[in-house]
Symmetry: D2
Subunit: 300 residues, 4 copies
């Protein structure tokens, strides 16, 4: 193991830069050279490689986004393109590829692995919806961002006795909503995984009033029901006046929370350690609170 290439792929997630630093730090100790391909898989095809060093990754350790940038590249689903990617990596003497990304990126990583090219994947998606892992880069930050914004609403809400319905990210998963709803003491949290009725929502608002909570807060994942539709439903079926708010891109952005920095660095270090031991064709994950790995074939 002399030379590895890394990509960040799919949506950017806070903690990606920390992972890059963790990879480079451990690799430097092990005398492994690290290169980054710019903009995800497309950077491999375009042979757009840049050297990654302590000097050029350390300053970004605590910065959100990804210094390697990322662009969608649908053509990568074609077998021929994948084969080309492997050939290019071999041409450049890369001994392994580390892919930092979410669901889609994992699939690509699994495909490349089928060409017997050494690949390790690091989970990074704010939705935390990758199969098999308890945590992924960006999730803690998204929860923390959303919570911080709702906290800001709360002082206003308490001053006026307002009811807020806040929509957080999560098309198929209630992971962010559940954590955020817990953290802000939401009266009800609505997730795609569980049915609900408008009556239940209104009952939770009734209870909130009865308990003298000063303001009420419903958290909904975008995949369950939109903020605006829920607002309409509540206002039609009760006397309540509701203030809707869609958090949107605010959740994904910003500098990584402390957990995502630590997790990112640790993922990076473990990736290099495993490559050094000739362990690949795997996806890192958190399980039982600790980092271990699953075979990439699980993600085909």
């Amino acid at each position: 193991m002399k030379k590895v290439v890394v990509i960040t792929s799919g949506g950017d997630a806070p903690g990606m830069n920390a992972a890059l630093y963790g990879i480079v730090k451990k690799a430097t100790e092990e005398n492994i050279e690290v290169y980054g391909a710019k903009c995800g898989y497309i950077g491999i095809i375009e042979e757009n490689f840049v050297p990654l060093t302590i000097e050029n990754t350390f300053p970004y350790l605590r910065q959100g986004g990804t210094i390697l940038e990322t662009i969608r590249f649908p053509a990568f689903q074609e077998k021929e393109v994948q084969r080309t990617a492997v050939e290019i990596m071999e041409k450049h003497d890369f001994d392994a590829l580390i892919v930092i990304g979410g669901d889609g990126s994992y699939k690509g990583a699994a495909k490349l692995s089928q060409f017997y090219f050494p690949v390790i994947a690091i989970p990074a998606t704010i939705d935390n919806d990758i199969f098999g892992t308890e945590n992924s880069l960006g999730f803690s930050t998204a929860v923390s961002n959303a919570t911080a914004v709702i906290d800001k609403l709360s002082t206003t809400a308490a001053s006026h006795g307002h009811i807020f319905v806040v929509e957080v990210m999560g098309r198929h998963s209630g992971n962010i909503a559940k954590k955020v709803g817990k953290a802000v003491g939401a009266d009800m949290t609505i997730i795609p995984e569980k049915e609900f009725t408008t009556e239940e929502v209104i009952e939770s608002l009734d209870l909130s009033k009865k308990q003298d909570k000063k303001y009420s807060m419903i958290v909904t994942a975008e995949g369950a029901i939109s903020c605006l539709e829920l607002t309409k439903n509540i206002e039609r079926n009760s006397k309540y006046k509701v203030h809707p708010l869609i958090l949107g891109h605010i959740q994904r952005g910003g500098d990584p929370a402390c957990e995502d920095r630590i997790l990112g660095i640790e993922f990076g270090e473990v990736a290099i350690k495993l490559l050094k031991k000739k362990k690949y064709g795997i996806a890192l994950r958190v399980y039982g609170g600790k980092i271990d790995a699953l075979p990439l074939s699980e993600y085909l």
Copy 2:
């Protein structure tokens, strides 16, 4: 001057609680008792008075919203209701009223002043659109909140080369937009006070690309053009793909920025000092960077 009553009125603004603390602090030194009427002018009519002390205001000095709460009370525009308010304040031996609020609240304060009741107004509105003052409570916080949120977008935007159009508060005033646009290095800032064309916006995006800014950011005040309309206009007239975001209530909420805490306490202290000197029928303001006062009659 033995006993004064305070209200917070209109929309809540971060720094209102700091002003309450400033009033109580100075009043305590001057042996003046302070009461708050709950929920704005309506609290006077309903004789809903609570004593304000160092003990019950100090802990909220750095908290947003208003511990006195605030409710809209349109009936207060009637002369009879105003007269009743004055009679109730006299019945309770209040020697003066301090009103903390925005435009509408100032008008009410000016009306009460016409009954020869001593009134002082303190400017508090995140829009900073009260005539005559350079600054009002909540404005610094709103600018700082909006800037912080846009900063969060920026890391994501830079990773993907995105264009964001962000809508900030300001129905009639571009004050927030101008400061925020400056602070985030916006490519263009659109305000109600100045006409603009879609072509100009697109040119600013062209320039941004040319200057290799990695991402582009347009800030618009809600009163100039809505985020969604502007997005549509840009996408129809150019090849650009735009991400719209409405900041909404996030701007108004949250704990006061340092400036609003300091300004709130200072407004409160000055209000008591002036009352002590039998100066009233006035509205405090910031002028030339310092606190002075205008006659309330300016706001009739």
Copy 3:
């Protein structure tokens, strides 16, 4: 289970108020009344009980410190005082006691449990040094606070090429230091559990220079070596000029990080669930990333 009493004991830890809210929330659902004894164990002896409700705990959910306050009470180590505490709790018809605190508080809880009084303990200490648990309330916040402060130093450090030695809390444990050192990319992290030499520290600084890191950062736990002594040792044995900084109380204070809020509420909910099932004489903990419990007798 009709009526329980709660104390927060020992040093305050961010997340204690969230735990109070979690307890009250779940207890309200289960028709269990909750009281707080003020200032820790002493509040039981002094029969200083206050009712805890959604109304008076919800607003503090996201606030640091403890609304129940806490005072050191060494007399509680005497068996007679413990017996009195149990008698008082029985006199007031309390069916169980929930203790939120650290090492010392756990010992007290275990003692009371020996009188066959139902007790559940919730781990809360920023040092995260309670036997058997992976996490305790306040730890995430302390790590996050320390990291945020060191981040602030970093921009200055990078502008001047400075070397900082930062001392974090941890008399017997390197838990905070290890996480913080990881999060900030420290050149070396010194902990009480592991010996080190001044030469190793200087070598880490040499390496940092060689890697063009722009600034260097050593993190030390107070129990390993003090900031000032380490500074002296480095400056005596090398040409380096070092800037020492002791973080002190800054780490412990402030509002809880998102994780401590969520963990606090979950601990509180689980405590009530277990009491309801007549499970007591136990200490909650995090194990394998999940909440479970150990017998309190482990802490005698």
Copy 4:
């Protein structure tokens, strides 16, 4: 005016990078090229110039420290060295120099101006102690940083009824201390400009107890009395137990507060506007809340 050179000099101050962006932004509009000399005046002597562009300044607009870095350079007080600097700037066809810094840097700027070389100075020092200006880059950030840290102490302090004595920066000036003391509701603020006695401090603590403030907070500027000495004096002359804390480098560091970003950009834009109008030999300042200028000869 075709080509200007900029330095950041003396201690770094948050907002310096924003000023660089403001300069470059305006200069680009005016077709003026901008270069930075690295590390302050020494960068001129060493002819260490780098081009500054929108591309390489925009990403740092919201970052603390200075991307141009800064090193102390005592030799610059010699007339010969100053003359050399002017010759080098002329050799490189620089039409003007913009100096961003504090007291010492202003003196250097004034000296260069005596060689009839066009110079404009921009005030940047967290102490805000430059003659003639109401505000300087870094001051708002320092106040905000110190306030935020003391806020963190406050929750702990309130939980235990503690007394804190906090030492803020300010060797000759109480500017930071006054603002911070106001913002945190300090019981007393001690500054170098005003004598005080230990008795007064103790009386303020007595009053704090009497007013049921839950905790007490004294703020002292380092130039008035050190934290530790004051602690000793209080504890010797009263029954109070005091917790001292020195804020140190935390105040100076970190990303600029919104005000310093805005002020930095505005200073930068104004500097270019004035150079364009052939106004130089001046120092920008804030006066009456607005930016204007004083002759540099005031700082000789």
